[in-house]
Symmetry: C2
C-alpha cells in the first residue's frame, strides 16, 4: 500500500473538481443533442434541465472552464460543445482495447457510443484460442498472447477489462506493464494498480444493491406510515432467499 498519496497529489494544474469533470460528459451529451437540432444558444436553466442538474451547479461547473457564456443571453451551443470536448480531450481520438470478449465484451464492442465520441476500438482480445480470428462487431478477436504487441503498435493508453473476476488483476497488470494508464473495469474485483494509473469501475451488481437498499427503505417507511410500530414487512414477493441463512454468529 505504500505511504499514502494514492490519489491526485494536488498537481498544481488548473484544478477542475472531480465532481465537475464527471458531469462534463453529461453536459456535452445534452449540448450535442441541441446542436443536432440546430439550437444556437441555451440558458443555464434550459441546459441544466436537459442534463438533469440544477442551474447553479451547472454555472459553477462552467466557471471552472472559463467564462464561456454571455450575460443576458446564455451559452453558444457550438462553442460550448467545442470547449467541453477540448477540456475532456475528445478532440483527439483514443484507441482502446477491450479484453474479454464474452457476452459483455461483445456488447461493448457493438456499442455505438464508443466511436461517436472520440474513442476507437483498436482491438478485441480474448484468452480463448477458439475465439481468435472470429470477428465481433466487424473486428477480429485476437489472442491474449498478442496483448503487449497490440498495445504498443496502436499506442493504446485506455483499456477496458470485461473478463471474469478471476482474470482481471492479471490482465490489468499486463495492460499496465504494456503502457496502459487508464482502465475501465467491468469485472467485479478491486484492481490494484501503481500510482499514475486511473481505474474506473462499472459494477452492475453494486448498482442493484444500492437500489435494493433504497427500495427496502421505501417499503419500511410505507409500513411505518401505515401502522406505526408495525413489524417491517418485506415488500412484494416476500419469500426468503434460497439458502435461508440466519445470523448464527453473534460475538460476545
Amino acid at each position: 500500500m505504500a505511504t499514502g498519496r494514492t490519489h491526485r497529489p494536488a498537481t498544481r494544474s488548473r484544478g477542475i473538481p472531480e465532481a465537475t469533470v464527471a458531469r462534463l460528459p453529461l453536459y456535452l451529451r445534452a449540448l450535442t443533442a441541441l446542436s443536432e437540432r440546430s439550437v444556437p444558444t441555451v440558458s443555464s436553466e434550459e441546459l441544466a434541465a436537459a442534463a438533469g442538474v440544477n442551474s447553479a451547479k451547472l454555472r459553477k461547473d462552467f466557471s471552472y472552464l472559463g467564462s464561456y457564456g454571455t450575460r443576458g443571453v446564455g451559452y453558444d451551443v457550438e462553442y460550448l460543445v467545442y470547449q467541453i470536448s477540448r477540456e475532456l480531450g475528445l478532440t483527439q481520438d483514443w484507441p482502446v482495447v477491450i479484453v474479454g470478449i464474452g457476452n459483455l465484451g461483445a456488447a461493448l464492442a457493438n456499442y455505438g457510443g464508443f466511436a461517436s465520441r472520440g474513442f476507437r476500438v483498436a482491438a478485441l482480445i480474448d484468452a480463448d484460442p477458439a475465439m481468435a480470428g472470429k470477428p465481433v462487431a466487424g473486428i477480429p478477436v485476437q489472442h491474449t498472447d498478442e496483448l503487449e504487441k497490440i498495445i504498443d503498435e496502436n499506442g493504446v493508453s485506455i483499456g477496458v477489462i470485461a473478463t471474469p473476476a478471476g482474470a482481471a488483476q492479471q490482465v490489468c497488470e499486463r495492460l499496465v506493464a504494456a503502457g496502459v494508464t487508464s482502465i475501465l473495469n467491468f469485472a467485479p474485483t478491486v484492481l490494484s494498480v501503481p500510482d499514475g494509473v486511473d481505474v474506473r469501475k462499472v459494477d452492475l451488481s453494486i448498482e442493484l444493491q444500492i437500489l435494493a437498499f433504497h427500495e427496502q427503505r421505501k417499503a419500511g417507511e410505507e409500513a411505518a406510515a401505515a401502522e406505526p410500530g408495525a413489524v417491517i414487512q418485506t415488500p412484494k414477493e416476500s419469500g426468503k432467499g434460497p439458502d435461508g441463512d440466519v445470523p448464527a454468529v453473534m460475538p460476545a
Copy 2:
C-alpha cells in the same frame, strides 16, 4: 420538476450517508470472499485493503450501522456479512425485469452476479416481436405488450433499462406506471421520473470520457515536465478526429 425536495427529504430514519451506502456492496463482496476462505475475523485495516478504501473510512462507515466489531480483535466475518446483507435488503430476493434484449440486455441476463446476491431475473422484455419466445440465458423473451402484466404478477419493483436511448424514457414511464420504483438505466439518456422513484445510471461512454480527461492531463503534465513551456503534444497516436471540426464559433 415540482418545487424542490427532489432528494431524500430527511426522513428521520437512521440516516446512513449515501456515500457509505455506495460502499457497503464493496465491503460485502470482500467479506464474502473472506467467508469463502473460512477466515473468521478481519481487522478494519485488512478489510479496507481488500475493498480498496482506507481503514478510517471503513470504520466510520461501519459506525453508522452499529458497533459490530470487537476492540483489539476486529470484525467477525460471518456476522458482518449478515449485518450488511440485511442493511442492504439482500436477505430477501428481488425480482427484476430487463427491458431491451440486445447485446447488452443479453449480457446482463447472462451475468452471474445477478442471482448470486438476492436478485432474480423475473423476465426479459423486448419490443421486437421476432424476439418473443426466444430463450436468452434460459429465459424466454416476452413482448413489451406484456410489460404491465409481468410487473404486476411478479411484484417487480426494480427494472433494468437496456434499450436504445430513444426508447428509454417511454419504457421508464411504463415501468413506473406499472409499479416499479427503482430503475437501473443503461441507456445514454437522462430519465425523468416522479418523486419517490430512484434511478441509477451506468454509462460506458461517460466513464470513458472521464478517463480521457485524466489521460489528457497526464500527457500534458509529462510534456510540461519534460520541457517547460513546450507545446502540449497529444499523446501517442496523435491524428485528429475524423471530422476535423474547429471552433468556428467565437462569441464576441
